[in-house]
């Protein structure tokens, strides 16, 4: 019996590969079919906004999770790195004849456009080769954006990664703000167009593009996490001192994680630029980083699957599903309190609830696996049957006990409120362990 269960539980590696490939193809095909059939004026076209932005955010959030969740580095520089990626892409992608209208007040310094050059080199606009060339140029530039971001991250990492937890957070936040200012500076106007919009660079129109790019990048991150290096990162997260004692070079591995995370953040930034069709530095504030961090938490710190689910949920809620809260109607009635901004209040409340009551997030540290899915469905019938069998009894018991409970609730309310304070004092004892844990070597001296 147990033997049989064990074999039933695990699918073979080959099956998993086939399933994954089939799932990916199915999703991409579905998106493609939907895109062909849903006109932009349909209310369902918001779906594509969610897919595009969700895919981009997934990549950025997963790279943030690599840093915060897998390496335990509390870095808050994400928005700054996205900004670098976005600019690195945009500056070199603006077609030559559009430069004058984009750089209205400056003499553009970069006199070429990579996608354009490749389009011309491979057969000119309109031809098959030209189109391929443009794609190639875009891909090259996205890699370039990642590399530039990684390079700058390397330099920032040199001083910043020697700092500990909170100091690291605040220093990286500071660097992000400095980056933002530099990119807005008039003096660099001939490259960055000062604080003004960069636009007219090639963008994508199909949701497949960000899906595929983000998917590939996330796959690479997952491979990394599952490699020996990923284990070293996790060891640093769990216990820096023990990691170092087992021969893990702390600085080198922190730097690796930081640079790789920034590389993918840069690519994410480039895609965000393409999604928005314009870039300027203003929106890349610390609030953007906080938003990303909240998504990491909602998904689960230390879960790639969670980050991806969290991103799509977050984007769908904030851009689409909760919009009705702003529109002044509730169940068909006019509701005065539902004016613009109400959506965000509700949204913020939901987030606080998640942080307070589900600090492990949607996935905790678990990951998606075919075994998990199959086991879920395999055991579903039995569990459902059990649930419904037990339901009448439980309902009866519940309603029987209800009056007594309500009375008890109000009777004990005063004493519980006064008792709460004491209880919390007792609890704090354990907390101290977490409190100091990975902070100082000194504490374990004696």
């Amino acid at each position: 019996m147990t033997e049989e269960r064990l074999t039933a539980r695990c699918l073979s590696k080959k099956t998993k590969y086939i399933l994954s490939a089939a799932a990916i193809i199915a999703v991409l095909a579905l998106v493609w079919v939907l895109e062909q059939n849903i006109p932009p004026t349909s209310s369902w076209s918001m779906l594509f906004t969610v897919i595009k932005k969700g895919a981009i955010y997934s990549l950025v959030v997963v790279s943030m999770n690599l840093l915060n969740g897998f390496t335990g580095l509390f870095s808050l520089g994400q928005a700054g790195f996205m900004l670098i990626g976005a600019y690195a892409y945009a500056i070199f992608a603006i077609p030559v004849e559009a430069k004058d209208s984009v750089y209205q007040y400056y003499e553009p310094l970069i006199g070429f456009s990579v996608p354009e050059m490749l389009t011309n080199a491979m057969g000119g606009a309109g031809t098959v080769g030209g189109t391929l060339g443009e794609y190639l140029g875009v891909i090259i530039l996205m890699l370039f954006a990642g590399l530039v971001t990684a390079g700058i991250a390397f330099l920032i990492g040199l001083p910043v990664l020697r700092l500990k937890s909170d100091y690291l957070a605040i220093a990286s936040l500071g660097f992000a703000e400095i980056i933002r200012t530099i990119f807005q500076w008039d003096g660099l106007g001939s490259v960055t167009n000062g604080s003004n919009l960069l636009r007219k660079f090639p963008t994508f129109s199909s949701s497949l593009f960000p899906l595929i790019v983000s998917g590939l990048c996330i796959a690479i991150i997952v491979l990394l996490i599952n490699s020996s290096y990923g284990r070293a990162f996790k060891a640093i997260r769990d216990d820096e001192i023990a990691a170092e004692a087992m021969g893990v070079n702390l600085f080198k591995h922190k730097q690796l994680s930081f640079v790789i995370s920034s590389f993918f953040t840069g690519i994410g930034g480039a895609m965000l630029a393409m999604f928005q069709a314009t870039v300027n530095a203003t929106p890349f504030t610390s609030n953007m980083t906080y938003e990303l961090l909240l998504i990491v938490v909602i998904g689960g710190i230390g879960s790639v699957t969670g980050s991806v689910i969290g991103s799509f949920l977050f984007i769908a809620c904030s851009e689409w599903w909760l919009r009705f809260l702003d529109e002044g109607q509730f169940l068909g009635m006019d509701a005065d309190f539902m004016r613009p901004g109400f959506r965000k209040v509700v949204f913020a409340l939901i987030i606080i609830c998640i942080v307070l009551f589900y600090s492990r997030g949607i996935m905790g540290t678990r990951e998606f696996s075919w075994d998990g899915v199959f086991n879920f469905f395999r055991t579903l019938p039995t569990r459902l049957v059990a649930f419904f069998k037990a339901l009448p009894g439980r309902l009866v018991a519940f309603f029987k006990a209800l009056p007594g409970r309500i009375v008890k609730f109000f009777k004990t309310l005063p004493s519980r409120i006064s008792g709460k304070v004491k209880k919390l004092t007792g609890k704090t004892k354990n907390s101290k362990n977490n409190h100091i844990n990975n902070t100082d070597k000194r504490e374990e001296a004696q």
Binding site: A242, A243, A445
Partner: protein
């Protein structure tokens, strides 16, 4: 007794400000030996470990591994005035290796207050310790190059062997922290062995164990020494364990070495008895 020297700690003083945690400590470990480091609580034993493994830079003194100096320091800056040791001026060089470098040179340790990687499985805990010997770069490892695949397979096999030796293979996929206390101690040793050390530092390996478990541990330590061809330096409070397997014992009190010798000598040393039991006036 012309045994090959593995570890030589010379004149180590460790001060935190004006507080002397280790006072002018010298000790030696030779190849294949099991050496005990004992002393009352707060005597500076763990601090000595921390100096040897590079967690702290000593205020003065040197540590040599296989004849090669890995740590050397002398009082500098503010410490010049605060230094209370005797050997001022004897050490000129400053050499402070980070713990990971020292581990690479062949010193592995366990921790008094078990420091396993909480979020990782038993198997992964051991694999991490093998990471430092990985030759593939990050690209190879990520994209699973042929070499990386071979290395990974080798690592997994070695790790399984280690787990088997410590009777942990059934717990392979459990979270490290879900293990019972005694097994966590074993896992820490297994993890330390995974770094392929020449010298193993055990910080109270028998803490919290009953006599039977302690006895098993003794046999295990001896077996490790023989099978892995290494030397062991251990801090231990269980006199049964220390006296049972250690060839030589160093006794620390208030940071300073008060006695050394074989178990018998130590047991009869009046200063040791005094340190442990106090004196009647």
């Amino acid at each position: 007794m012309s045994k090959e020297n593995v570890l030589r700690v010379s004149d180590i003083t460790m001060q935190f400000g004006g507080v002397v945690a280790v006072d002018d400590l010298s000790l030696e470990v030779n190849k294949g030996e099991i050496i005990g480091l004992i002393g009352p609580n707060g005597a500076g034993k763990t601090t000595a470990f921390n100096v040897i493994t590079g967690v702290y830079a000593p205020t003065n003194g040197a540590v040599a591994l296989n004849g090669e100096v890995i740590v050397e320091n002398h009082p500098q800056g503010k410490m010049k005035n605060l230094y209370k040791g005797k050997n001022d001026g004897k050490y000129k060089d400053v050499k402070v290796l980070t713990p990971d470098k020292i581990t690479k040179l062949g010193v592995a340790r366990t921790f008094q207050n078990i420091r396993l990687y909480k979020g990782m499985t038993v198997f992964e805990n051991v694999l991490v310790a093998m990471h430092m010997n990985l030759e593939s770069g990050i690209f190879g490892a990520t994209f699973r190059s042929g070499k990386a695949k071979r290395e990974e397979a080798q690592m997994r096999e070695d790790a399984m062997n280690l787990l088997r030796m410590f009777d942990l293979e059934k717990n392979k996929d459990d979270l490290a922290t879900s293990l019972p206390y005694g097994k966590q101690r074993h896992l820490e040793i297994a993890r330390a062995l995974a770094t392929k050390p020449k010298l193993l530092l055990l910080d109270e390996p028998a803490a919290g164990m009953n006599p039977q478990e302690s006895a098993e541990l003794m046999r295990l330590v001896e077996r490790i020494r023989d099978e892995f061809d290494l030397s062991v330096l251990m801090i231990e409070h269980h006199m049964q364990v220390v006296m049972g397997i250690c060839e030589r014992i160093y006794v620390l009190d208030y940071g300073a070495l008060i006695a050394q010798g074989n178990p018998e000598e130590i047991q009869n040393n009046p200063r040791v008895i005094e340190a442990y039991l106090g004196v009647d006036d």
